[in-house]
Each structure stands twice: as structure tokens, then as C-alpha cells.
């Protein structure tokens, strides 16, 4: 019996104390970064040495990665690896959590989102979000979508915008006759597509998705995944998922996060490997990635 099989049998789920594998440092030279990433796509986010603390809990440690325009990037990893926390840095949702502190740099089209004078409200108008649990407003379907454009000062044809958003979220045909009805009357999968329609109604640049299918059945999940492929034509998408098959199916690039213990024995999240999805799932560079994607832990 090999050592690997042994580990699998005794259920070693892996936060390793030893010297963590050093992720490759990112060069600040964009051309070099793009070449290393093997893509011509323009860079949308540049993340350098990002750290997130909740009070004295160090949730995310020294993450550096680039997110490319009009691609789907997925964050995978076991529970508590900081992938959701990381996602919430991109639209400053962590600001709403008491005691959360973000250090390092997270540049969006070159502007540091955590730089002085950056208004988190403006950030969220450009970087929309879909949450784990479908969370429509307790209002009509129409109101759910109209709210975002209204507060961002949209002056045009609201009904047209609503139809367009619902069409792009593949929900129009199911709800076109009941726009005035409560969003709560929809099924879970429909509610989540409504939330996607709501997120794209403000015409954002980026859509962040935090485990958008974890509360849905397989058919609804499939619909959302198809939808993501269509949305990718227009938007940059970052998705956090527990489901490795989903990451493999939908995303262009995948970042694998893992839990590591720091010198004080506390768990913290760390980026282990970031690569084009095909490569990460077939030829990962790191041992921990291989263990995770082959189901040895996590």
C-alpha cells in the first residue's frame, strides 16, 4: 500500500504545517504576466499580496493572481480556504463585515480598489454579485430588476431594460406574464436566475458568483451553467464553487485555495495553484492540488 493510499484511508484532510509550497511570484511586468498565463485576454484585475483579516483571524494570506476579461475564473478549495472571502474583496463586500481588514493591492483596470478615495458603492455598481442563497427582494419581479438601474440613475426605457435583462438571464419566457407578481413565488432556480438578471441590469463589467448553484437541483444548475457561458460573451465572471466538476465544466481558469496552519496554529486560506482550467485539472503542478481534485481530501 502506498503512502498516498494510506493518507486517504486515515482521512488526512490536509492542512499541512510544514513549509508551504511557495506560489510563483507575479512579475509586475504585464506582458510577462500575460505570457506566463498563456492568454492574450486583457487583464481586468491584478491582485498582489492580498491579505484579509477578520479581527485577529487571518483569513486569506498573500494571494496574488490576475483575472482576465471575458473569461470565467473559478475559485475552488475545501471549506474555510478563504475562497468566498477572496471573492468578496473584488466588490468590497467585506467592508460590510465588522472587523474585516484587507491589505495588499487589488487593481481593477489599474485602479487600486482599496486605494484612498475609492467609493465602495461605485465599485459595486460596476462589479455585480450573485449570492449563494437566492436572495430576491421581497417585492415584484419587476421591482427586483428595476431597483438597481433606478438607484444608478438609469433614465431610459425601464421595461425594455427589464425584458432585456430577463432574456439574458434566460428567464423571460417563464415570467413575462407575471412581472407584477412576487419574486418569492418563483422556484429556487428561477429566483437565482432573477438574481442574475438583477445583477446584470445595472450593466456591470464583472459578475461575481458565490456558489450560485449550491442551493439548486441539478437541472437548475445546468441552466445556470449554460447561462454563464452566454454571459461570458459580455461579462467577466468569477465564480466560487464547491463543485469541482462545475469548475471544470464552466471555467477558463481555476484557482485552487487550501487551508494552511500559520505559526500560531490558526487556519488561514492560501492560493496554492492558479492555471488554465484544463491544465489545473489534468497536470497540476502542486501535490496538494492533485490530492484535492482526485478526491483525496476536501
Amino acid at each position: 500500500m502506498t503512502a498516498d493510499a494510506d493518507r486517504a484511508l486515515i482521512g488526512d484532510t490536509g492542512p499541512e504545517t510544514g513549509e508551504p509550497p511557495t506560489p510563483p511570484r507575479f512579475s509586475l511586468d504585464m506582458a510577462a504576466r500575460r505570457q506566463a498565463a498563456g492568454t492574450d485576454a486583457a487583464v481586468m484585475f491584478e491582485v498582489d499580496d492580498l491579505n484579509v483579516h477578520y479581527g485577529d483571524f487571518h483569513a486569506v494570506f498573500d494571494v496574488s493572481l490576475d483575472i482576465y476579461e471575458r473569461q470565467i475564473t473559478s475559485f475552488i478549495g475545501p471549506s474555510g480556504c478563504g475562497k468566498s472571502t477572496m471573492l468578496r474583496c473584488f466588490n468590497r463586500m467585506n467592508d460590510l463585515i465588522e472587523g474585516a481588514r484587507v491589505t495588499g493591492r487589488l487593481r481593477y483596470h489599474g485602479t487600486d480598489l482599496y486605494g484612498p478615495g475609492v467609493d465602495p458603492v461605485e465599485v459595486r455598481r460596476r462589479i455585480g454579485m450573485v449570492f449563494q442563497k437566492p436572495n430576491p427582494f421581497p417585492k415584484s419581479i419587476h421591482e427586483n430588476i428595476a431597483f438597481g438601474p433606478r438607484i444608478t440613475g438609469f433614465k431610459g426605457d425601464v421595461d425594455g431594460l427589464i425584458e432585456d435583462s430577463l432574456r439574458r438571464a434566460a428567464l423571460w419566457d417563464e415570467v413575462k406574464d407575471k412581472l407584477a407578481e412576487s419574486a418569492y413565488a418563483l422556484s429556487g432556480g428561477q429566483q437565482q436566475r432573477l438574481c442574475i438578471a438583477r445583477a446584470i441590469a445595472t450593466n456591470p463589467d464583472v459578475v461575481l458568483m458565490d456558489e450560485p448553484c449550491s442551493a439548486l437541483d441539478p437541472i437548475a444548475t445546468l441552466r445556470i451553467e449554460e447561462l454563464m457561458q452566454e454571459l461570458k460573451e459580455t461579462y467577466t465572471i468569477i465564480i466560487v464553487t464547491h463543485n469541482m466538476q462545475q469548475a471544470a465544466r464552466v471555467s477558463d481558469r481555476t484557482a485552487f485555495f487550501n487551508v494552511q496552519l500559520n505559526e500560531r496554529g490558526q487556519r488561514m486560506g492560501r492560493l496554492v495553484e492558479y492555471a488554465p482550467t484544463g491544465k489545473l485539472f489534468t497536470r497540476p503542478d502542486q501535490r496538494a492540488t492533485e490530492d484535492y481534485i482526485t478526491g483525496r481530501f476536501g
Binding site: R126, M129, A201
Partner: protein, 313 residues
């Protein structure tokens, strides 16, 4: 000859043999007794009051309800008292609701979760338990003087409806804050996240999503606090509510009415209960009936309004 025992027989015997469990029965009986005792108190009280009040309503329902205070039992009524109570309660609503709901919104949605915030929240809860007479002393020390100082003391040196309204507003303020806070806290976090997620500011999230969701709870809580203010007696006795009789000039202005002598329904009940003679006992009972009817109406209105709001979605 032994009949063979099958599994089916054993199961049937076990499941259908109803066992006598004395502990269970005793406990249920004790709980039922507790309920019946409290119901009995209520029923006896109500029956006694209704029976005592009946002659008054038989003879002159309208006259009693619209009448003024009078030393003559035949002519005394609760009109002035209802007017005073309604004015005081309106004052409480105007003062305590915006302050209380505003405080609750600040504490729940804006204030950072620090030791100071928690200290303040705890003490608001403590304030809700302070005996009402203490608020009467506070009102006498602060509001009466303040009202006299700004020239609204009238001919009663500031012991008027204004002082009563301020004092009862201070009395119910902690309760308004607590009920509004609880209603706000019950709004699911997902609704707030959704609002922030589409780029709403904090105020937009509160205004468009949190407050509408919390409104039924806030509404119910606040109407119940109004009922509390309507029935409050002790502080008003310190604040000059008239226990004898007085008349308002028919042509007195609103300012006069707010700044001169006043009385309130529960104070009138208190006053009449102290008077000797069957006549006034009946009057007191009748006033209690009027008070109860008003409180029940207010509470039912709160429930109806809440249900209507909640049915919307």
C-alpha cells in the same frame, strides 16, 4: 396447547396497548389549571366591572362618553378625559416614534459593534423596566420646568398636556427602540447583501428594503407602546392631571387647551374609584369599560394593519 406467537401479534400488542402515564397526565392538568386560574381572574374582573358599569350605560351612554368632569355623578362623563388621553397619546406618537425608530435604525444598521454600543443597548433595556413613577419625577424635574421656561406653562405652571406628552414619550421610548430594533434584526441579511450588491448606498438599502421588510413588526410594536402610554396613570398624577373637575371654555384655542389644566382617562378612573358612593363606583367601572374598548380597538387595528402589510408579498 400453546398458540404460536407471531411478530405481528407482538407488534400489535405493543402498539395498541395504551399505557397509563400518571406523570404526563398530572403535568398536563397542572398546566391547564394555570391557564384556568388566569382566565378566571380575567373573567371575574371583567364580569364585575361590566355589571357595575351597566346602569351608567343603560341610562346615558352618549352623555357619559361626551360629558365633562363634574362633582355631580349624574352629569359626570369621560369626554374631557378621552380628549386629554388622545392628545397625550398623539404627542407620544409624534415625539417617541421618530426618535425611537431613528435610534433603532442607528443602533442596528450604522453603529459599530463596540463595547460602548453594547453598553448603551443594555441600558436601553434596563430603562424599559424603570417604574413609571420615576419617569413622572423626571418629567416634573425637566419637562415641566422646560415648558414653563419657554412660556408654554399656561396657568398651571407647566403641569399640562405638553409636559405629560413629553414624559410619556420618554417612558415609552425604550420600548419603541427595543421593538423596532427587534423588527430590524429580523430582516434577513440576504436582503441587505442583495441591496449592497447592486450598488445601493446604506441609506438606499435601509429605505427601500430593510424598512419595508421591518415595517409590520415596527408598526405592531409601536401601536402596542401607544396603548401602554394611553393606560399610564402614575406619572400623570405627578404632572398635574386634574382629579377633581374643571371645564374648558368652549371657545378656548388649541394653545390654551395644550397649556392649561387637563386630565386623562386612567386618572379619571383613579379619581372616581376613590370617591365615596355607589354612583361614582359605577362611573369608574364605566370609564374602565371605555378605556378597555379603546385599547382593544387600537390593538386590533395594529393586528389588521400588520396582516395587510404582510399579505402584500
Amino acid at each position: 396447547m400453546a398458540t404460536p406467537v407471531t411478530t405481528a401479534d407482538v407488534v400489535a400488542a405493543r402498539l395498541t396497548g395504551r399505557r397509563f402515564r400518571p406523570g404526563e397526565l398530572a403535568f398536563e392538568a397542572a398546566l391547564l389549571a394555570a391557564l384556568l386560574v388566569s382566565l378566571l381572574f380575567l373573567i371575574v374582573l371583567l364580569a364585575d366591572i361590566l355589571a357595575t358599569a351597566l346602569p351608567v350605560f343603560r341610562q346615558r351612554t352618549l352623555g357619559f362618553i361626551s360629558g365633562e368632569l363634574s362633582p355631580t355623578a349624574d352629569r359626570a362623563g369621560v369626554g374631557t378625559s378621552i380628549l386629554g388621553s388622545v392628545t397625550i397619546t398623539a404627542g407620544v406618537a409624534v415625539l417617541a416614534f421618530p426618535l425611537g425608530i431613528g435610534t433603532a435604525i442607528y443602533l442596528e444598521e450604522y453603529a459599530p459593534d463596540t463595547r460602548l454600543t453594547r453598553f448603551i443597548t443594555t441600558n436601553i433595556r434596563n430603562l424599559a423596566g424603570v417604574p413609571s413613577i420615576v419617569y413622572g419625577i423626571l418629567g416634573f424635574a425637566i419637562f415641566v420646568r422646560f415648558i414653563s421656561a419657554v412660556g408654554l406653562g399656561g396657568n398651571v405652571n407647566g403641569r399640562n398636556v405638553l409636559a405629560a406628552g413629553f414624559t410619556l414619550a420618554a417612558l415609552v421610548l425604550p420600548i419603541v427602540i427595543i421593538t423596532a430594533s427587534e423588527a430590524l434584526r429580523a430582516v434577513p441579511a440576504g436582503i441587505r447583501e442583495a441591496g449592497f450588491g447592486v450598488g445601493a448606498t446604506r441609506w438606499e438599502v435601509i429605505r427601500h428594503h430593510v424598512l419595508p421588510s421591518a415595517a409590520p413588526g415596527i408598526l405592531t410594536g409601536t401601536v402596542l407602546t401607544l396603548a401602554r402610554a394611553f393606560g399610564e396613570t402614575a406619572p400623570l398624577l405627578l404632572l398635574g392631571a386634574v382629579t377633581g373637575f374643571f371645564t374648558l371654555g368652549a371657545d378656548s384655542s388649541i394653545v390654551d387647551r395644550l397649556t392649561s389644566a387637563y386630565t386623562a382617562l386612567p386618572v379619571t378612573v383613579f379619581d372616581w374609584s376613590r370617591q365615596p358612593g355607589e354612583d361614582f363606583r359605577a362611573l369608574a367601572a364605566a370609564a374602565i369599560v371605555v378605556l378597555l374598548v379603546i385599547l382593544l380597538t387600537a390593538n386590533s387595528a395594529a393586528i389588521i394593519l400588520r396582516n395587510r402589510y404582510e399579505r402584500k408579498w
